[in-house]
Symmetry: C2
Subunit: 470 residues, 2 copies
């Protein structure tokens, strides 16, 4: 490949504004926001339209140059960072920021890949609708990245993953052809469901350029509670009883260990413990309703009262105003930041069937503490999805590098426990580069074989985000 | 192939009870319940376990014999009927009727492919849960068929299609290997989503033998209303306003033209018009709630009252007791049967974006009546899914055969209107044999090309339900 001829060909398509090749300007595209992954690239190309993306992919295909699609670069597994060869081209979708259509009667919105999740949420709110995907990075992650990684977050319990929110896709295929699957249909049984193949494929099968997404009725009442529990088993009992009572009003159920809350109270200035006593576990519960003035407080109090009698709940408080709601969510959302103040930590994003969460926590805690005494286990997550962020901080005062050297052994214990309980080693973060090897070890070989066969079929040259997923 | 050696090999796997080769006994497997499609077969094999299915597929693969998977044989497109060569083997899943596991804490049920949908619903109800898929054939259709065709029905509005209710699958691949994807996980981002490829593939990529399905909280309050409307446009306005008000309480919204209701009143003995006046359109609305004594009547009356003022509603009545609820649903469910009494009818199962339903009806009615004066258009369906059953009955007193000869021209008008509005020519019934040619004409050629590439990858010998889908 001639780098100059490639640059020239791409510039003809996207114009000078669509090319980044100055090393300093390229830097932000070559490492993730946490600076955990770094790569090199021949250049960064920023097409502004689907047709430009198609032309770019055709040119790279003709030159046999590998492409790394990139959105907001907020992923946690290095999926949008090129390798260090310097031969790959980063294709940033961040100029494709159009909201193409809002169809309120169809309850859909059609957006381009580079639209920020938060802008999408705001566009929905402006027409009195809800776009429910909600996650920490929403101010900087893009819809394209959300689709490519099948993003999750705190509202999956009620509204599903990004996959469940998509009705149609527009995708540039590895040979540069455009598949226009932008249908806003809730029922379409005319063959294989191609969109689900591209969603969650982390850019390894094609480049998602736009999508038709579902909208939901605006929420008009919310109740939020902070609840203390004796153990994780009680959290599973509690969510079952609350869901039976409240049905779809249950839109949030976030579990946190005392260790998680301790770190937040220590390091996040604005947070204070809602209870005088220390408790082993907590959940943040959110009920919501499309009706204004829905009697959600009464409903939740009834549910918590019954759970208190059965011993599943030790104490509970309902937020009395918006400031209190914000304060409770700040506790939950502060965990990741707070943990950073305690030195290096090893992060895991696992899922198991909801019924097996207590067993997972008991077994894994015991195995870890036996082998690595003093480590601090920061377990929290989305109980209704069976999804735990099971992070491990070094023992207080211990050596950082010594702890990091144990990373593989610690993860091994966690992933083995996950696999033994029929779980997933990556619930919502994807594989990227970070979990490629773990996926190879813990995934069914037949499933990996099928995935590879699909990859070869759709991307026979292996030019779409090579080195990721597989 | 030697038919005797095949028979012998299969009998070794499934035993004499698992083989049907007597022509008389085979008959019910060789035509669908409406007797619209007929085929022939070398034999019918009825394995009782996944391992037996795998062994059967291996034997057929070795003999290069094509397989036609079959469930309850209630499909409307001939997808489970063999061709007339007499060389294909029908693989009936109806002996695989085990409910393998119910995990109430995980809100999941694991069932085999041959379980009847109604038995699945009953098993869910027995543990105080709802399995929401609901359709006319539920007493005889099987879960495997529901998955293979991505079945829809009346509850899709709230709970989604069968695809949306499945968390994991067990599939016997075309070479006889078993893919165990029976995971009960709500989040799993470790690669391509294989289950969505098999769901809706109509047995053309493998044989679904079991699935992990989602359960929902039991419903404890229901309100049902029968509402008269001036036009289809008002139905779209009405569903938008009711959904905004009621959110997920809205679990049914079925549109019916006066023509549909007329046929029911004429031919279904137990039905009578709830209103003294004749109106052009009707909807049946259902609200439901997990709470006992939820004030659904008040809510629906408020919504309908506001719609009455805006002219979207002409009249409305709420069912006062269970008998009235049943009577209203009998009107909706009687349409298909009633239409049979009016001579031959051409059935279509289309979808368009909800917002385009009025345009679809207006355009198509006009085009049809202009070209085929006197035909009776029986339009009804699931407005919230954009899904209309748009059927056409012959003009009264006209010749049956002359009408049937116009079938292609009538369908052409309907499918062209569907395509022009970015719709689907098969919303919930699938392709099977019935819509193969139409799919070839109305589907994006690139999408068909991708589908064929996937088919070749997973079933290179073309032994899985050949002649269907493509």
């Amino acid at each position: 490949m001639n780098a100059q001829s490639l640059l020239h060909a791409l510039e003809t398509v996207v114009g000078p504004a669509g090319i980044v090749c100055d090393p300093e300007q390229m830097a932000s595209y070559l490492s993730d926001w946490r600076n955990a992954y770094r790569g090199a690239a021949a250049l960064v190309v920023r097409p502004a339209t689907t047709e430009q993306v198609a032309a770019v992919v055709q040119i790279c295909h003709a030159h046999r140059v590998a492409l790394v699609p990139q959105g907001g670069n907020t992923g946690l597994c290095g999926g949008s960072i090129p390798d260090d060869s310097g031969t790959q081209v980063v294709l940033s979708l961040t100029r494709m920021t159009r909201i193409r259509e809002i169809d309120t009667a169809n309850e859909t919105i059609t957006v381009e890949a580079g639209v920020l999740l938060q802008h999408l949420q705001e566009a929905a709110a402006a027409v009195d609708r809800l776009f429910p995907l909600s996650l920490g990075a929403q101010g900087s992650c893009t819809v394209g990245g959300n689709l490519a990684t099948n993003a999750g977050g705190t509202a999956v319990l009620r509204y599903g993953n990004m996959r469940d929110l998509a009705l149609g896709l527009e995708v540039v295929l590895p040979d540069g052809r455009i598949w226009n699957g932008l249908r806003g249909l809730r029922k379409d049984n005319t063959g294989y469901d191609l969109k689900h193949l591209f969603i969650g494929s982390e850019g390894s099968l094609g480049i998602i350029t736009a999508a038709v997404l579902k909208l939901y009725p605006a929420v008009r009442s919310i109740t939020t509670a902070w609840v203390a529990l004796p153990d994780a088993r009680s959290a599973v009992e509690l969510i079952g009883s609350i869901r039976a009572l409240c049905g779809d009003r249950l839109t949030g159920f976030e579990l946190m260990s005392r260790q998680s809350v301790d770190f937040v109270l220590r390091h996040v200035g604005r947070c204070s413990d809602p209870f005088a006593e220390v408790h082993p576990w907590y959940v943040l519960i959110e009920l919501s309703d499309t009706q204004p003035d829905a009697p959600l407080n009464d409903l939740l109090e009834a549910g918590l009262g019954a759970a208190l009698e059965r011993g599943w709940v030790l104490d509970a408080v309902l937020a009395g105003n918006e400031a209190q709601v914000a304060a409770l969510w700040a506790m939950r959302e502060g965990i990741s930041e707070a943990q950073n103040h305690e030195g290096p930590s090893l992060k895991h994003d696992i899922s198991v069937p909801v019924s097996r969460i207590p067993a997972f926590i008991e077994r894994t805690d015991e195995a870890l503490l036996e082998r690595f005494p003093g480590v601090r286990i920061v377990a929290y997550g989305h109980v209704g999805d069976g999804n735990l962020h099971y992070n491990v901080s070094k023992p207080p005062g211990s050596d950082d590098d010594a702890f990091k050297a144990q990373q593989a052994a610690i993860s091994e214990i966690i992933y083995a426990a996950t696999a033994a309980l029929d779980g997933s080693i990556s619930a919502e973060h994807g594989i990227g580069q970070a979990k490629r090897d773990a996926a190879r070890r813990y995934k069914d070989p037949l499933e990996l074989e099928l995935m590879r066969a699909l990859k070869r079929t759709l991307d026979p040259e292996g030019l779409m985000n090579p080195g990721k997923v597989f």
